[in-house]
Symmetry: C2
């Protein structure tokens, strides 16, 4: 992505601009990359500092409940649960906080009610039978709830809720043996948790919110940009005219797809949180987040091909296949491959831009058509020309991987 | 992996066995796959049930502290913290429980001490200044600790510890404003948490333990097996003699590498937990778990190439390049490619076996050498033979991706 903006302009200039302008452009490109990196980090670091401040703020707000006497006497010592809730529920994104907060609130409600029911049942068994019956209930419920966590869908969405469910049920059921006024205890716990969740949600939604949906949106666009960067880099530096040595070592574009390969976990995570978020900015409540995951799969598929192509290119360089037995033909294939790469890169860049701006990618189809044309051209040349085998193989493999 | 054992034997038989034996073998293979799947699930489900029972057991054990009077009076109502600890700390693997338990214990100790110190400092500020000073402390510490969670290494290993650190510090500092006997409260909390952690560790280590290290070991071997399965399947079903149509649709081996591609998160996770585990079975305490991650990277790299090769093969099938202009040559290349695939598959299978049994992979080198020989043969044929271009291209691309 880093070199994206620069490279697009340069393609048009290269044929006629004199050497010193090329050198200037090269320097400018390096500066652009550095600026882009600082901008990227500079965008992340303040947000992280802001998040840290938000957590501190929410905790300080909640501790006021404890310091102020009238509030304290209303809730008793269980206002500690509010502090606990804030620490555990507060997440980086709004969706994360919402997901955890709702999980916590509903799981507490459900488990509290079940716990009270278990207590009522157990008291029927008499003084001796009560702890035994309570133990059996706790054992059964904990075991069943734990087993349900192995179901992938529950694991992904309600894992935290199940933990809180087991926790609350055990606490209520076990403590019901000694605590007299169980209803008021349950009431206090519920209201403190509600206060804690409300504080978290307020802080995370209204103080510089970070939306999981927007993060996912940006991540998918960035991944597309990374692929575009690879193709443009390859088209320019490997198939381009000015590169004689074909030495790709140390080129940054060769690694631009690496981060894409391992992005699945983050995408799943963000999509899962985004589902909980209300409408915000350009995204409505039921924005089709699953579509981003589908795009993600396709992007990773492409990144895989790039990885294979990469390996192939570096192997081809090392074994140094006999080039240039027919320079004219080599140049033709090279030009076509270069065009393929550049046009594919442009099309991908266009798609990334379209996703980012939520517009119809009008010119991407044009670029793709050009890339397909170039691919067809390479394929049509192959059987007719009488060039030597190894060079055609190199290009043909590259071509088939690209197309 | 499923078809691994069966395919190894069949290769030798195919040339001479009559049709009905082949059909029988095919049926046997399907049965083997089904049995293997049941065995695999059958291995997982009882372990999951066992884990659920273990959680229930640990919770029941800890609730005894509450039911039995002498124990209850020793610890007071804070024995509830023991229940909470068990629910939160208990993980599927021993390493996970250890990691969470130690994180919880040390974070509580450290934050408790700091909280007491903050309380001592705040009391110096007088009755009015105390809550203000306490709020400032809580704010600062929570913000700093939250920011530290963005450091990838801390996130990976101590995320839970940092949460507990913020939690305990806030609880101790905030409640110090109203609770008189803070030392005894801290003492109670610490001992209940210690009891909770000890119960979890005891249950998870001594009752049918699941070791994260062993899971990682098995996962890496399984991933290698999956790759081996792909190569053997390709060698047999695509390059093999009996398959005339080259129709690969619906073949299970084509998808065997899919799970490998997304295994990074699980591997990182398991390696992180394995680091905490004591020596067990064939693994010592400081077993080089990082090496598994390196093998994992290489395996995923290979899976990526397979993915690209897969795409290429299905495209090649669809466009239906003009085959068989020189049947003899096609057969030669096909045989060589088949040999390459089969030998690579055998070598990978051998490596998986070697990892599983922790033995030196003595015959893998032999198989790999054969595969390299076959690859070299294909390469040496290419420039001399006068076959038509498309077919050579297909095989050459395949060959270069394989080698």
């Amino acid at each position: 992505m880093d070199t994206h903006a620069g490279s697009n302009q340069k393609v048009g200039f290269t044929p006629w601009c004199p050497l010193f302008i090329t050198a200037m452009m090269e320097k400018l490109k390096v500066v652009m990359v550095v600026i882009e990196k600082i901008r990227k980090n500079g965008k992340d670091v303040p947000r992280r500092i802001l998040h840290s401040i938000k957590v501190g703020l929410a905790l300080t707000l909640i501790s006021i409940f404890y310091y102020v006497k009238p509030l304290f006497h209303g809730l008793g010592s269980s206002s500690m649960w509010a502090v606990l809730t804030v620490v555990v529920v507060m997440e980086y994104t709004v969706g994360g906080t919402l997901s955890k907060g709702l999980n916590r609130a509903f799981a507490t409600l459900l488990a509290g009610a079940l716990g009270l029911g278990a207590h009522q049942l157990a008291t029927l068994a008499g003084d001796k039978g009560e702890p035994i019956l309570l133990s059996i209930f706790v054992f059964m419920l904990a075991a069943m709830a734990t087993f349900s966590r192995f179901v992938p869908k529950i694991k992904a969405r309600y894992d935290y809720g199940v933990t809180i469910f087991i926790l609350t049920f055990s606490l209520v059921a076990v403590s019901s043996y000694r605590v007299e006024d169980l209803i008021s205890l349950a009431h206090q716990r519920l209201s403190t948790i509600a206060i804690g969740v409300a504080t978290c949600l307020g802080t995370s939604t209204f103080v510089f919110p970070v939306w999981a949906g927007e993060e996912l949106h940006d991540l998918v666009a960035l991944n597309l940009d990374n692929l575009a960067c690879f193709f443009e880099g390859l088209g320019e530096d490997y198939f381009g005219k000015k590169m004689a040595g074909k030495n790709l070592e140390g080129k940054s574009f060769l690694h631009s797809h690496k981060s894409v390969l391992n992005s699945k976990a983050t995408e799943d995570f963000l999509a899962n949180f985004a589902r909980w978020e209300p409408g915000h900015g350009r995204f409505s409540f039921r924005h089709p987040w699953k579509q981003y995951l589908k795009i993600g799969v396709t992007i990773r598929h492409c990144a895989c091909s790039i990885e294979a192509l990469n390996t192939f290119l570096s192997t081809a360089q090392m074994t140094d296949l006999a080039y240039a037995t027919d320079p004219e033909f080599v140049e033709m294939v090279q030009d076509a491959c270069g065009a393929m790469c550049l046009e594919t890169g442009k099309a991908l860049g266009e798609l990334a831009y379209a996703i980012r701006e939520m517009k119809w990618p009008s010119s991407a189809r044009k670029h793709l058509a050009k890339a397909m044309d170039a691919a067809a051209t390479v394929k049509s040349w192959v059987p007719t020309k009488g060039a030597s085998w190894p060079e055609v193989l190199v290009f043909a493999t590259t071509a088939s991987l690209l197309s």
